[in-house]
Subunit: 381 residues, 2 copies
């Protein structure tokens, strides 16, 4: 097991009717900058609950943080936060709204442009306190310090690390109004977040393996229920809790990580504005296949423990495990080939060109470069 | 799933050679009160590492916090902390030293006697910041706000809740010098901590079930290695991480808990000064047997998933699961009957009398009263 430092101070307020906790969790005398995405929170009642809980608190609303949040939109928010001297950010939405709000909270404290901050972590000077009301179980952003920001002018998308939310409110009831596609992408995102921390060298931490497998098993079991007709509250709660636990550091203590599926997926959504989880459903089969020598032992462990695959032939277990993951995503209505999503060879060429230019080497063992990326994407064409 | 609030701010610093982090983790200009148990940390090198890391920091040593820490000893420490105006507590030891230090950190801030504070939570006025260097994987006290304090004059033992450690340093190497009996008790303590949060109503949270089972599976796998000759570093690290994760809130989100085995175990160690983990190994078989109707479904789930028991007969799975747990403790050299430990009927009578006087009703469904306690203890006589 590798040495590690773990700390996650976010306070989770989880369950039915918990949005009203905003009123007591935000310290008194704060000027709150409240961020939203589109208008769906107005139709599902979340907006009304948030407003009620903010009664008596000085606050400003900011609308329009888009899926794959763009620095162009966020710059407008940052200007208002500075001008109005807001000193608390409350993000109300899914991972994109929370991610975008992390950049707002950090960029509000510096003079430089927000995209500069994304590209140069050394500019980071801390963040305004940030909290969230989560509306889409998926990214885990509600309990981690990470964010992914898009520059739509440059069609680029990069990770950014700032602060943990002070608190996050998770009321599973808010997820009932989500479109099926969002549920499918959230389940996929959760599943692949776990794999990025799990499909690595074996025997680094038996406990972390069990916990990662525990999330995978839970998601596989609960997916048909929450994706199906009339999911029960408990199933939605299980999905929501699993999504948060998949990317809050709880399953990555002392172990290596990979993240190559995400690296490639980010490029796909930067170029085609696909939903993040959907890009992962497309790329994963390719990364697993191309890295099947490197990660064979762990893929087999997953096949046996998560998919209950039994076979005396090592190669067959690996193939079946990869197929099972792909079938799982397809069972959620996701098209898992590039061509099925109207994406062709020219996108592969563009991504390979970008990776060549950046001279990337990513993945657990830094084995994924531009040419491996070509193989991965051609495999899922 | 029940509504819940979760927050655990403790910073874990885990791995080889991490004790030196003390020097940077304790803020500058603190006057540090350093607590120890007996002298074992002087022979295994921990004391020397701690002293080196404290170079240049104003600090006072306090020795002699005993296993099952007594308020009598802690009162002396509290007097010194007040007199010397110490403003940071560093506990160096196992669960007993950390537990005792939690009472020191809290009682230093009030006028009233420390035992009054244990008995009356309303007296709590916060704590001095507290950190730990853990030397025995077992209680989880390094990452939770709980403590158990003994009054040796009254032969009483009660739980007390104060603050999370600011940071805890876990270097698995320190555990190599532990006596086998301590290892056995630590493994047992970890195992039963999980069961107190797991052997409850089924289907409350499939994810929490998987994570609890994950710790149990890991402990069962790693126990023969760390209890055996020359354990490997990775195995000791797995044990140490499992012990911390077993009682830090990570497996109890949204689910009910039980704690009846602990309630009875505390009385045994109050009356006979047995090591805490050992008392749990004795009591568990009784609580599982007496509650086998109430908890049958969960016992069966455990039997199938943790012990791989297959049987068409429901009663047989329950019996085998209970036996498996008892055999596990005995495989660690622990005598699991009261009589084997020189404890007789008069102790049962005394505990039942105490519970009658306190009119207790504990356990998940408050079904364990003084007469159920008699049945439990007579079953393991």
């Amino acid at each position: 097991m590798n040495n590690f430092i773990f700390q996650n101070p976010t306070k989770l307020v989880f369950g039915k009717g918990t949005i009203e906790h905003i009123s007591t969790e935000i310290p008194a005398n704060k000027k709150v900058f409240v961020t939203f995405g589109g208008g769906s929170v107005k139709t599902n009642g979340v907006y009304q609950q948030v407003k009620r809980a903010l009664t008596g608190k000085d606050h400003i609303e900011f609308w329009g943080i888009e899926p794959n949040p763009t620095v162009e939109t966020l710059r407008k928010a940052i200007a208002i936060v500075k001008e109005e001297n807001c000193d608390f950010i409350l993000a109300v939405g899914g991972g994109s709204v929370i991610d975008g709000s992390k950049l707002i909270a950090a960029a509000a404290l510096i003079e430089e442009d927000a995209w500069e901050l994304v590209k140069r972590p050394s500019l980071y000077r801390g963040s305004l306190p940030l909290a969230s009301v989560l509306t889409i179980p998926a990214t885990g952003s509600e309990m981690n310090p990470g964010a992914v920001i898009t520059n739509s002018a440059l069609k680029e998308k990069f990770s950014f690390y700032s602060t943990f939310p002070v608190f996050s409110i998770l009321d599973p009831q808010v997820a009932f109004s989500l479109p099926k596609y969002q549920i499918a992408c959230g389940l996929t995102d959760t599943f692949v977040h776990v794999l990025e921390q799990y499909l690595t060298t074996t025997n680094q931490s038996p406990l972390m393996d069990r916990w990662a497998e525990g999330i995978l098993q839970t998601i596989v079991e609960v997916a048909p229920k929450v994706y199906g007709e009339k999911p029960a509250y408990d199933d939605m709660a299980t999905f929501m809790l699993s999504a948060t636990m998949a990317l809050n550091g709880f399953i990555s203590m002392g172990v290596t990580q990979d993240w190559s599926t995400h690296m490639i997926g980010h490029e796909l959504s930067a170029l085609h504005n696909l939903t993040h989880g959907h890009t992962l459903a497309i790329v994963l089969k390719g990364t697993m296949w191309i890295m099947k020598e490197e990660k064979g032992d762990k893929i087999i462990q997953m096949g046996k423990r998560v998919w209950n695959i039994e076979d005396s032939d090592r190669e067959k277990i690996i193939e079946k495990t990869i197929d099972k993951c792909d079938e799982f995503f397809r069972s959620l209505g996701l098209k898992t080939r590039l061509s099925e999503n109207g994406i062709g060879k020219e996108t592969i060429d563009e991504i390979v060109k970008r990776f060549e230019k950046r001279n990337v080497h990513f993945g657990e063992n830094k084995t994924i470069d531009s040419s491996a990326t070509r193989k991965i994407l051609e495999y899922v064409l």
